[in-house]
Point group: C2
Chain length 416, copies 2
């Protein structure tokens, strides 16, 4: 149908025309005025306390203590069960979060502005590897780090960004693709490029030498520091693609540890969900599939803009890390994703594929027609809260989400 | 001959067993006690003033003014013609330098220690792009930067390295190979990895905030900052491979802008030279082949350890930069170099080639037998001093060097 093609063309133009800039770090309360006391934003489509997996519950209890809404983890669990907190998706508040992905009033969030469209998107700062809240961690160490992010690092990061006048992300990501990143499970190059752009500004705006050294080391020692920036970037690119009438392009893919949900441009803000699948991947020493939690997080927003599993061809080293076969076959994933997307991004290209642009704009019609679902590179969380990441792998978006979306989409555009 | 195979095996073991650490930055006078007043070390095999190309003469005049041995460039040229300075190769003093590669008493040099063998190698700090002495630049701006390197940046860099306890290079280079660097014409990843390792130490050891910011920006804004570190590393790895009786492995390849020279383990410190070739490559806007100087610099030491043109397969993006054909064919260069080397380096491997180790240990017998000469990725200097880099390309080591070396080698081992 010509109407759908025209709408998808417009959707692709908005994706390719986006100009995302990391401009600031501010308290979530300031970024999102509707984020009030006792509201807890989480990754994925809507879910309530009863439906939550272990790590999600662990993170909820931790953040309630962090915010001062409960005196202990047990009290927080009781409050949660009693309905004291309102659980809402990040995606409903211009925000995204990795894994459990909790966003609450007292956390600092990074601000990415899509300067083409004028909208902003938010994501909390990546806490690092190991025992962290995004994997359900909630002990003293985890909460102490969150306080440091809130009180020291976040404000310093914001000052450095304002001093620099913002960090343009489009070219930085383009460069990262020539350096083996796919911006989901491999962000080492983009993290380095971010540090080198920001280090002089940090030096000029942080007075205390120890604090400065700690801040620079915090960025430099976390290969995944850039992931949360890439996510806010993805959200800022895709939000203006929402609600284009008759467009069959996916605007969000997301998981809450229980369900996988997608949103489609032409069907507005409805979620189409299905039970989330288990990632297939490689486990860190000492862990097995039996330890794994089902797939989780808003990080799949990067696949909706052509990165992550879609850009696997740029990152042969990640193929080994996520257990996706021989590194030299990483390009096959990228080529396969071309079958379910409406275009390529000429500004985000892959040298090893002779500068083929990353496949961009997932069309739900093509997914259902070809039977090919989006490939997602993901971290694997332990199913018990507080243990952390136990592996990395590849997971498929469930076909059922796309089938449900296509039925609703067809009804919306008047095809029966 | 079994004797040669055994000697080459030993040579390869020394290369693969090396453990290079960047440990310090100190004045050249301290690093190299025999580097006295009026001695000027240059890239490549020996040459005198009359034989020098334009950029080499330009650099010589500049460094003489920098060192206070002449009051003006003209006076420096007169002094040079009169024999006031002693011109000697870096390679004779445990040192290397890129392009013109001058090393003199007053410059700071980076110190790489090969902790397996206990030897040290030295290289000056990379000045950045554009108008710089390594491309023959010698005006006020160039000399002012050299003074800043000597008086501020060099000492600060040394303090940071000592504070850190040294920067191990073997794993850093391994990581860079997974991030698209080949460490000759592409060092953006390794430069970033260096910065992230050193930034906290800089923060803790530089008192002045402006000086700190300038130092961090100087590293971060120069994608080739790591080149000189890679060169000192290469020299520290290859020097212990010199003088193994009956070994036919190349220990150095180097160019002085006039001649290309190689040294071979079994023939000691003799140079085998031939006129240097012109690089074939891509020129920056506004420049053509007519502007190009013949090939120059000690940087080819990185190819002797399996990097640069030998590791092209790790760096598809560099293939376009140096005009070496389609990025996807970058792997062909690496495979071809396997035909003239005695082994692979399992610790320096290429993800896109399913972790094939870089081809290591150039055997002059294989070069002559196959007719395949080493491929070198190189920067192209303007033939007039002071203009700078005008392009990048690929250049062949001249076959005649290897033929001459093989004749001498055969005589040395008693084959007639």
């Amino acid at each position: 149908m010509q109407r759908i093609e025209a709408a998808n063309k417009q959707a692709l133009e908005r994706i390719l025309g986006a100009d995302p800039i990391l401009i600031d770090v501010i308290p979530a309360s300031e970024a999102i005025p509707t984020l009030t006391e006792n509201r807890i934003l989480h990754a994925g489509p809507p879910l309530n306390w009863d439906q939550m997996c272990g790590p999600m519950r662990g993170a909820v209890c931790g953040i309630a203590v962090f915010e001062g809404w409960a005196r202990s983890l047990d009290e927080a669990a009781n409050f949660s069960a009693e309905g004291a907190f309102e659980f809402l998706p990040n995606h409903h508040f211009d925000a995204v979060g990795p894994m459990t992905g909790l966003t609450t009033i007292g956390q600092p969030v990074m601000v990415v502005e899509n300067q083409t469209m004028g909208n902003r998107a938010y994501c909390a700062i990546n806490e690092g590897l190991g025992k962290v809240m995004r994997f359900g961690g909630n002990d003293h160490e985890v909460l102490a780090r969150l306080r440091w992010l809130r009180d020291e690092f976040g404000p310093a990061f914001g000052r450095a960004l304002r001093h620099l006048g913002g960090l343009p992300l489009k070219n930085l990501v383009a460069r990262g693709l020539t350096m083996g990143d796919e911006m989901h499970q491999r962000n080492v190059a983009c993290t380095g490029l971010t540090l080198r752009a920001l280090a002089p500004a940090f030096a000029e705006t942080v007075r205390d030498r120890g604090e400065l050294s700690k801040a620079l080391a915090f960025i430099g020692n976390n290969d995944q520091f850039f992931l949360n920036i890439a996510m806010a970037m993805g959200k800022s690119i895709m939000d203006p693609v929402r609600n284009i009438e008759a467009a069959s392009i996916v605007t969000a893919m997301s998981r809450n540890g229980t369900d996988f949900g997608i949103r489609v441009s032409g069907t507005g803000d409805s979620w189409f969900t299905a039970p989330v699948e288990m990632p297939e991947g490689l486990y860190f020493p000492g862990f097995t599939e039996a330890d794994a939690n089902p797939d989780m997080g808003d990080s799949t927003i990067v696949e909706t803009v052509g990165l992550g599993g879609f850009a696997m061809g740029a990152a042969p080293a990640v193929a080994g890390f996520v257990g996706a076969g021989e590194p030299s076959s990483a390009v096959d994933f990228t080529r396969k994703m071309s079958d379910i997307t409406v275009g390529e991004n000429p500004e985000w290209s892959i040298p090893g594929l002779n500068y083929l642009g990353v496949p961009t704009g997932i069309d739900i019609r093509l997914v259902v027609e070809t039977g090919i679902v989006p490939t997602i590179n993901t971290g694997i969380a332990h199913k018990e809260p507080g243990i952390g990441q136990v592996g990395a792998g590849v997971v498929n978006a469930p076909m059922h989400c796309f089938e449900k979306a296509l039925i609703a989409f067809a009804e919306g555009v008047g095809i029966t």
